[in-house]
């Protein structure tokens, strides 16, 4: 199945590039090539935007900057300086990519810019470039630059053929890159970053590097596409290049088509461009924009995830409708080809809004869920301490202050192979902070931490994860737009033994079975309950094949049945050879599971040792004064 996709794309590519040369055979007017060139241009721009903003969620308003750099590279190098047109185009792509990398360095490395701050940064860049271009008499000076007709081999035919071939090449490169990303773990890493960057980083995804690649690709494609577009214009000007048109349309097209699918932006481009073209050609005289706006609003309201997500649910129906309408209109002879296309697209969109077929989301009955496939532990089993090995995590005199608040005031602990350490203490004692510091989410104010013998000071969380440390979150943070199975697969893809997309998915099943979520493999996190989400957290954590696992209040909010189930799962994980640090309130559970207990109070180590002894220690009892010593 994987190979078929590339085959189809290659065939489509060859077909598209051959189109101009077949024009004589099929006898269609050159205008259709011009029309297609427009669709291809917008496909490239929208796909380019989507790779950074759609896939990874870093919303950019700056597509106009990349487009503009491409346009002005051609204007400067080709028109003003007389270099070959393809030099202008290549430089357009490269300079744009360079701009993208600079932006990325500022936004992703120097400061961790997110959300609207990143959007504003990207919005400001085109304004700056416009002003520079306008002020510099070398580049433009304000009056615009005339673009001469480029020279190209005669055999290509008239200029429209040449422009079409170039546009098609750029669009095909863009689609190939987007498609390739979606078939490999790289794209899924971007999806994970989109959903929860911090968690992704913790699972081993090198988020900075991947975001830089994404923005570089966006810049490259935006620049190449803009440069090619300039060859078709007789004249470029700063106000005509650096306005809101390209960014707004790229966003609209991607959102309409679907931001998760590699073909989404292309579909959106096809829709918007065709509709706009037909509406203005039809001479509605003052209505075309109203109709376009109304169609856009309806489509967004009723397909908020984009058209592709609807189309992929019933691909055959949609194709049938599309072809059917085209054939019917051709037979009746109504309208011109592009009119028929516009109507067919609209009708196809409507069919996609028909009520959803029930998805294969069959959920097993409540009681059986989560417990199937698990070997039932004989009740009341005591933890058999396995072989104790060498130290895996050493925390030496670590403090952590948040402003004036000292969350950790000098804590030293060691966790060794084979241990199951219970970390307890009243609220505010610093348990979660300690977990955060060990996993690298927070940097300690002072003190040192080693994991598997390596000092983790200054290491990014994904590197710490590669050292063999995994953690879960108190409030589960699954990737909401990925299936349960893909959630686990991400961890495998970027774990200590990285694998590709498909083998990771297969391997994920094993871990799902370990926690008893095998039946929910294709469900989405918003549709599963809290207990299942906590199990998913655990499955995801163990999928990275850690040596030590930090479980942060993994039993919070569960009913007694679920708690027993969770305890069984934790035991299984421990027995599979993973050292565990269990942060918990429920002392009965801690008592049941732990080989050793550590008690924190107000950021300091209060007591440490065998469960039975520690729980009888008067100081420990005093801190829990008023609380029931058993859950």
């Amino acid at each position: 199945m994987k190979d078929r996709g590339w085959l189809v794309l290659t065939v489509a590519a060859i077909g598209m590039l051959a189109l101009p040369f077949l024009r004589d055979q099929f006898g269609f007017p050159v205008f259709y090539l011009v029309f297609l060139s427009g669709v291809l241009f917008w496909t490239a721009q929208a796909t380019s935007w989507n790779i950074l903003s759609g896939y990874s969620g870093y919303f950019s308003f700056g597509q106009g900057a990349f487009f503009g750099v491409g346009v002005y590279s051609v204007a400067f190098f080709f028109a003003r300086r007389g270099l070959s047109w393809w030099v202008g185009v290549l430089l357009g792509g490269l300079l744009s990519m360079l701009l993208a990398l600079i932006l990325g360095t500022i936004a992703f490395r120097l400061r961790q810019l997110r959300g609207e701050i990143f959007a504003l940064l990207t919005l400001a860049i085109p304004f700056i470039l416009a002003a520079v271009v306008r002020l510099s008499r070398t580049i433009d000076g304000g009056q615009g630059v005339g673009i001469p007709v480029p020279s190209y081999p005669d055999m290509i035919g008239p200029f429209q053929h040449f422009y079409f071939v170039l546009s098609a090449l750029v669009a095909l490169i863009a689609l190939a890159l987007a498609y390739g990303m979606q078939r490999t773990r790289y794209g899924w890493a971007l999806f994970a970053i989109h959903d929860d960057e911090q968690v992704a980083e913790g699972l081993g995804v090198p988020t900075f590097r991947y975001k830089m690649i994404a923005i570089a690709v966006t810049g490259l494609l935006g620049g190449l596409s803009g440069a090619v577009f300039a060859l078709n214009l007789g004249h470029v000007s700063p106000e005509g290049t650096f306005n809101l048109r390209v960014p707004l349309f790229a966003i609209v097209m991607s959102a309409l088509g679907g931001r998760r699918h590699w073909a989404g932006p292309m579909v959106g481009a096809l829709y918007i461009y065709t509709l706009q073209n037909r509406l203005s050609a039809a001479g509605f005289e003052g209505w075309s924009l109203i109709v376009l706006g109304a169609i856009l609003i309806s489509l967004i309201l009723f397909a908020p995830d984009g058209l592709m997500s609807r189309f992929t649910r019933r691909p055959w129906t949609v194709t049938a409708v599309l072809v059917g309408v085209l054939v019917a209109m051709t037979a009746l002879g109504t309208g011109l080809i592009i009119d028929r296309l516009a109507v067919a697209l609209l009708v196809a969109a409507v069919t996609a809004f028909l009520p959803r077929r029930a998805t294969a989301d069959t959920r097993p009955p409540e009681t059986a869920r989560g417990l199937s496939g698990l070997e039932q532990d004989p009740g009341g089993d005591e933890a058999r301490p396995p072989e104790l090995g060498r130290p895996l995590v050493s925390v030496a005199d670590v403090t952590k202050s948040f402003g004036g608040v000292r969350a950790l005031a000098g804590v030293s602990i060691t966790v060794s192979e084979g241990e199951l350490v219970g970390l307890v203490g009243p609220n505010g004692s610093g348990k979660t902070t300690l977990v955060n510091v060990i996993s690298g989410t927070l940097r300690p104010t002072s003190g040192s931490i080693t994991v598997a013998g390596f000092d983790i000071a200054g290491l990014q969380p994904h590197r710490i994860s590669h050292l063999g440390l995994a953690r879960t979150y108190q409030i589960p943070r699954p990737f909401p737009t990925l299936t349960v199975r893909d959630n686990v697969a991400i961890a495998i893809m970027f774990g200590r033994e990285p694998r590709g997309l498909y083998s990771s998915r297969e391997a994920a099943d094993e871990h799902l079975a370990m926690v008893g979520l095998a039946e929910l493999a294709h469900a989405y996190p918003p549709g599963i309950n809290l207990h299942e989400r906590q199990l998913l957290e655990m499955a995801r954590a163990i999928a990275t094949r850690p040596k030590v696992l930090l479980l942060d209040e993994a039993l919070a909010g569960l009913n007694p049945v679920e708690i027993d189930n969770a305890v069984a799962v934790v035991r299984r994980i421990h027995r599979s050879g993973v050292a565990i640090v269990l942060v918990e309130h429920l002392l009965r559970v801690v008592n049941q599971l732990s080989t050793r207990i550590i008690v924190l109070d107000q950021g300091l180590l209060l007591a440490e040792g065998e469960p039975a002894e520690v729980l009888k220690d008067p100081a420990v009892v005093a801190t829990y004064l008023g609380k029931q010593p058993h859950a």
């Binding site: 002003a131 306008r134 304000g142 007709v149 009520p355």
Partner: protein, 436 residues
Amino acid sequence: MSKATRTVSILAAVMLVAAACGDDSAQTTTTTSASPTTTQAAATTTEAAPTGEPIVVGGSLALTGAVGATGTIHRIAGQLYVERLNAAGGLLGRPVVFEPLDDESDPTRVGDLYEQLISQDGVDLIMGPYATPWILQAQAVAERHGFVLPHHTAVLAPALGYECQFPGWSIGPEPNVFIPNQVADALDSIGGMSTVALVTNSSGSTAFVSHGVPDVEGSRGALDVFPERGYQVVADESYPPGNTEWGAIALSIRNADPDFVMVNGLGIEANGLIDAMSQLDYSPRMIFALFPAPGAVLAMGEAAEGMLSVSMFESNESILANASDQVREIVAEFEARAAAAGVAYTTFETQAAASWNAWDILTQGVEGAGSLDHREICDYLQQNGANLTFAGQMSFPRDDNNFWPTNQVLKQVQDGDWVVVWPADQAAAPLRGPGN
């Protein structure tokens, strides 16, 4: 969800119906494929109704968007011209159809639209769009297909190199030199003025007139010409297109206190500047605006009195009195149409006159060549020129990129109207100096 689906289905159905209706109208205008170029005898059937397959003239205009106001003027003028043409027997005896498409004030759409008109819709002739950047895009397409491109509003002569484009409005081959000189002539006649402030919209033709072409050695503009004529330039301000803040520029001008302010700007930019200067309790002694929106300027009332600008034609009483009946008819009919279309300023002036000239060029080229073959039309016009209703007999010198010797005059706001004031022999009223 079913209720929503129903709503959507209804909405979609409405769209489909609308689209289908649109198809019909598009179809009627495009049933003709490229007509056979039958060379008919140039019979001047002045009163007989035109017969036969319509000749389709395609084109785009900015009917909506930033420059939609002026694009609308050209649509009205063009459609009026075609009506009168058909009433007088049509072109080559055939009726003419002109339905401009809307490029929504977006120059990058012009190329696609003209490609569509020429290669899909198969129009016989084309008429240029509105304003220089748009016309430059259309020029590229016209050149590719070898179509004659008459246009009404590109004055940036150096950029229009295609041999078969013909301007309906000409400020000669060097507007950047001509305009400042003409203005200086007028100032000379008033006398007693020595300082000039220059304010420029740094884009397209306005920047061209102020500063010449940036990467051509020795290219001059107002900034260079005024000193040559003995006027000192005491301020040289520029602003980006789309600027809406005039305080800083007004301040600079007030401080420089020039005798004359030349605002090479477009649309309502001079309005904003004058308002800002008034807020500073300053009003310049004399002010000039290059391509203002004439109606918007008049709407300023007292504050606009005395403003100068360029013109090709104004519907002033004395000018109309000396013109032909035909001109008077055209002017009256146009104003009625414009009023009906809700246009704020309905006076027939330079823009409409330029449009008329462009249509004259097209129709005379076709009639003269006796065919719809673009090569023949182009050759005919090159060899014979054209008799423009609002400019007289003109030829199209190749050396000047087909830009005929200009008939430009200067107009001035006097008592709430634009009046031609310079040169004196063409004036409808005397040029008023500062302090009236």
